[in-house]
């Protein structure tokens, strides 16, 4: 009965292979030129040393809110995807319109430069 979990196991294995593989292969194949900046500890969007209890830039806010919006979009795709064949062309068009409306917003904020960090 556990074989209903087989796709999840497959996904976990693929994810593991991809994440380990991309690190290993970029180390094997990639060019290695050490610079001071490259070898310093990395932390997303901020200097890594110092107190973590500071107020953060509002730029994180837009990215976070856009993440939530597109997360909700993906949430609607799960029940659609499991019924893809049964829903047929109507369901396909419907999801197309759904994504198109959201793409308008995406194109707008992109055009406005909200996704650029500087």
């Amino acid at each position: 009965m556990l074989d209903s979990y087989l796709p999840i196991l497959t996904l976990i294995i693929i994810a593991l292979c991809f994440s380990i593989g991309s690190v290993v292969f970029s180390r094997l194949i990639g060019e290695k030129r050490m610079t001071e900046l490259k070898m310093s500890p990395y932390e997303c969007g901020m200097p890594p040393v110092g107190s973590a209890r500071e107020r953060f830039s509002v730029k994180f806010y837009i990215i976070a809110m856009l993440f939530i919006v597109f997360d909700i979009e993906v949430v609607f795709m799960y029940p659609w995807a499991v019924m893809f064949k049964r829903l047929g062309l109507f369901g396909f068009m419907e999801m197309g319109v759904f994504i198109l409306i959201l793409l308008v917003g995406y194109a707008y904020v992109w055009k406005k430069g909200a996704l650029e960090w500087e």
Binding site: R53, F67, I72, P79, L87, G105, Y108
Partner: protein, 169 residues
């Protein structure tokens, strides 16, 4: 089995939420809140709504949590020195709650992989929900899409950096 798990999950959820609202440290509170969300997700699963359980994890533990984190990031918390001495009473309850939650999840997966034993009266398959959502309630789904459009533009308008005044002169 299922009803026993229900009470265990209820206990985990209530304890985590209680700890969440009594913590002084907002980061600790958020972590307890996540544990509560996960317990709630398992409860939805037990009640026969696996898709709602998945949404609980994706939307609440994933996306709504970002909002809480963002509030903490904006709060500008006062610097706090690390406490001296043993601090097991800080992480102990969390480890206990989350490991029992993990045990419950594994038990559910291995005991009843097909989710046949539920405590709800009706098992809502994701397929059925998809059929209703994209059939009868098709218009509502498109309205949701517009709402998300407003949300993304609204977020941009609130968070955009205004052009500096002296640039115009």
């Amino acid at each position: 089995m299922a009803s026993l798990l229900f009470y265990i999950l209820g206990f985990i959820m209530l304890t985590a939420t209680l700890l969440c609202i009594t913590r002084r440290n907002p980061v600790h509170a958020v972590i307890y809140l996540v544990v509560g969300f996960f317990a709630l997700a398992l409860m939805f699963y037990l009640l026969g709504a696996p898709l709602v359980a998945a949404w609980e994890v994706i939307v609440y533990a994933g996306a709504i949590m970002v909002l809480f984190l963002f509030i903490i990031m904006m709060l500008g918390l006062a610097p706090q020195e690390l406490p001296e001495g043993p601090n097991w009473h800080r992480w102990g309850p969390l480890v206990l709650l989350s490991s029992s939650l993990m045990a419950c999840t594994l038990l559910l997966i291995f005991q009843d992989p097909a989710a046949t034993e539920i405590i709800g009266t009706y098992y809502l398959a994701p397929q059925e929900l998809g059929e209703a959502l994209f059939g009868r309630y098709a218009l509502a789904v498109e309205v949701v899409s517009f709402q998300l459009l407003f949300a993304s533009i609204g977020a941009y308008m609130l968070g955009r950096s205004l052009p500096k005044e002296d640039d115009e002169s």
